[in-house]
C-alpha cells in the first residue's frame, strides 16, 4: 500500500537554509545538503528545497545545492522557486531534482504548467498554491484566495478553482500552503486541504502550520493529504521524523518505517 510521505522543507536563501514566520523574519538554520542528508538518514520520504530569494543569481546557487544533495542523499528531491520557463526547469532536473514546483510563475502564466508537463511529464510538475482565508460574513462558508510572491500579493483567485485548473493543465501534484498558518505552529488548515484534495485526482501535499505529530495525523485523516510537509519543527529538533511517523502509524496511516538506526 502506498505510504503517506513525511517531507522536511528547506527554505533556501543565499545558499543557506532559512526559516521565518509568514515569510518574514528569516533565521539561519544550516547548510542545505548537510541538513537534507541528515533528514534522509532520519527517514524523510522526500526533501523539498524552496528558493525563497528567487533572485536570478539564486538559481545557480540552488542548482549547486541540488547537485551536492543528489550526490549524498538518495531520496526524491523537489525544487521550487524562480523557475519561469521549461528550459529553467530542465536545468533544475538535470542538477538532480525529480520534481519542480511552480508557484507565482504558474499563476502569472498558467500555460507554463502545460508546457512543462508536456515536456517533462506531469509527474515532474508540482504546482504550489499559497492560500489565505478571505474575510467572509458570519455564517458564510469559509473561502481561500491564492496569494503570490511569497504571500505579499493577493490574486483574487479562489484556491479551489486554481487547484482544478492547475491539474487540468498538467500538474501532477499540488503543494498547498496555508499562509495564515505558515510558521505559526497553529496546525495545518485541514479545511483548506480537504476543499482541494476532494476536488482533484492528484496527490495533495499539506504545508503550513505543523506544531506536533498529531497535526500530521489530522492533515491526512481530516484533510485528505497524500503527504505532509514541515520545516521549523524538524530544523529545531522539536519533533523527529520518527516521532511523527510513529503517531501516524498509531492512527492507522501507512508510513514507511524509518531506518533502524534513526528510530
Amino acid at each position: 500500500m502506498l505510504t503517506v510521505r513525511v517531507i522536511p522543507c528547506l527554505d533556501v536563501a543565499g545558499g543557506r537554509v532559512v526559516k521565518g514566520t509568514r515569510f518574514v523574519g528569516l533565521v539561519d538554520e544550516g547548510d542545505p545538503p548537510e541538513l537534507a542528508e541528515r533528514y534522509a538518514r532520519e527517514g524523510a520520504d522526500e526533501i523539498v528545497f524552496l528558493d525563497i530569494s528567487a533572485a536570478p543569481e539564486g538559481r545557480a546557487t540552488l542548482r549547486d545545492i541540488v547537485e551536492r544533495t543528489a550526490r549524498r542523499a538518495f531520496v526524491p528531491l523537489t525544487v521550487g522557486g524562480g523557475v519561469r520557463t521549461p528550459s529553467e526547469m530542465r536545468d533544475v532536473l538535470r542538477a538532480g531534482a525529480d520534481k519542480v514546483s511552480l508557484n507565482t510563475a504558474a499563476v502569472a502564466d498558467p500555460d507554463l504548467v502545460r508546457r512543462c508537463a508536456r515536456r517533462f511529464g506531469s509527474q515532474a510538475v508540482v504546482v504550489a498554491i499559497d492560500a489565505r482565508r478571505t474575510a467572509v460574513a458570519a455564517g458564510a462558508p469559509v473561502a481561500w484566495e491564492v496569494v503570490v510572491k511569497g504571500g505579499r500579493e493577493a490574486t483574487g483567485l479562489a484556491a479551489e478553482t486554481w487547484a482544478e485548473r492547475a491539474v487540468e493543465l498538467g500538474a501532477g501534484e499540488l503543494l498547498v500552503t496555508s499562509i495564515d498558518r505558515d510558521g505559526t505552529q497553529a496546525g495545518f488548515d485541514t479545511a483548506l486541504l480537504q476543499a482541494i484534495a476532494g476536488r482533484v485526482p492528484v496527490p495533495v501535499v499539506a504545508s503550513g502550520g505543523a506544531a506536533g505529530p498529531q497535526d500530521f495525523v489530522a492533515a491526512v485523516i481530516e484533510g485528505g493529504a497524500s503527504a505532509v510537509l514541515a520545516a521549523s519543527i524538524f530544523h529545531r529538533r522539536q519533533h523527529s521524523i520518527a516521532a511523527v511517523k510513529a503517531a501516524m502509524g498509531a492512527a492507522g496511516i501507512p508510513v514507511r518505517p524509518v531506518p533502524a538506526d534513526a528510530a
Partner: protein, 208 residues
C-alpha cells in the same frame, strides 16, 4: 572494474544514478551515442515522462537498434521507470511504439485511488532474484508514475518478478534472463535502492 553505460537522452536527471553506481564500485559512462556502449558490461536505460519523446530522442541518437541488439544478445540490462516501460511493445499514454523486447504494453493505472502514484510503496517479490539480494521481502521503494507495464502474450506469465498495489496490483519489476526492469527508482530509494544498483553491478560483472 565493471563498466556500466547509462543512457543519457535528456529524460530526467542522472546525478543520483551516476553517484549510486560509483558508490557500488562501477565505472559509469553516460552514453549519448552507440560508441559509448563499447566496452560496457552493463546497460541502464533510466527515464521519466512520456514514451514517444523518449523513443524519438533515442532514435535521434542512433541508440534504438544498439539497445535492441544488446537485449537480443541477453547482455545485462536494467530499465528504470520509463526505461522499463520502453522494453514493451508500446504505450497507451501516447500510442508510441517502444522497443518491443517484451510482450505487452504500458497502460494507465486506471483503478488507482490517486494518480500519479507518487511515494514509497512495498515491492512484493514473486520469486527470488539476485537483483534483490539482501533486500527485505516487501521493502518499500520510491515510485513516481501514472502508467505501468502490463505483460501480455506469449511468455508474459514468467516475466513478473514483483508486484505492487495502488488500487489493484501492477507489475513493479520484471526479469527474463539477464534483462531486468523496475518501475520504481532505486536511485531515490535509500539504502535498499543502493543495494539493488550494487547487485545489478555484480550481475553485469557476471559474479552474482
Amino acid at each position: 572494474m565493471t563498466r556500466i553505460a547509462v543512457v543519457d537522452y535528456g529524460a530526467g536527471n542522472l546525478v543520483s544514478i551516476d553517484q549510486a553506481l560509483r558508490a557500488a564500485g562501477a565505472d559509469v559512462v553516460l552514453a549519448r551515442a552507440e560508441v559509448d556502449l563499447d566496452g560496457a558490461d552493463g546497460l541502464i536505460v533510466p527515464g521519466v515522462g512520456a514514451a514517444r519523446p523518449a523513443m524519438d530522442r533515442l532514435r535521434r541518437r542512433g541508440l534504438v537498434e544498439p539497445i535492441r541488439r544488446w537485449i537480443a544478445a541477453d547482455r545485462p540490462f536494467l530499465g528504470i521507470c520509463l526505461g522499463m516501460q520502453l522494453l514493451f511493445e508500446g504505450s497507451d499514454e501516447d500510442g508510441a511504439r517502444a522497443l518491443g523486447a517484451l510482450p505487452g504494453r504500458a497502460v494507465r493505472l486506471v483503478a488507482a485511488p490517486r494518480l500519479p502514484h507518487i511515494g514509497w510503496n512495498a515491492v512484493r517479490r514473486l520469486r527470488p532474484h539476485p537483483l534483490f539480494a539482501g533486500v527485505a521481502p516487501d521493502a518499500p521503494f520510491y515510485f513516481v508514475h501514472s502508467y505501468a507495464a502490463l505483460p501480455a502474450g506469449p511468455g508474459a506469465a514468467e516475466l513478473a518478478l514483483a508486484v505492487t498495489d495502488h488500487g489493484p496490483d501492477f507489475v513493479s519489476a520484471v526479469a527474463r534472463g539477464r534483462l531486468t526492469g523496475v518501475q520504481f527508482h532505486p536511485e531515490r530509494s535509500g539504502a535498499d535502492g543502493l543495494r539493488l544498483l550494487a547487485n545489478y553491478t555484480s550481475l553485469a560483472r557476471g559474479v552474482a
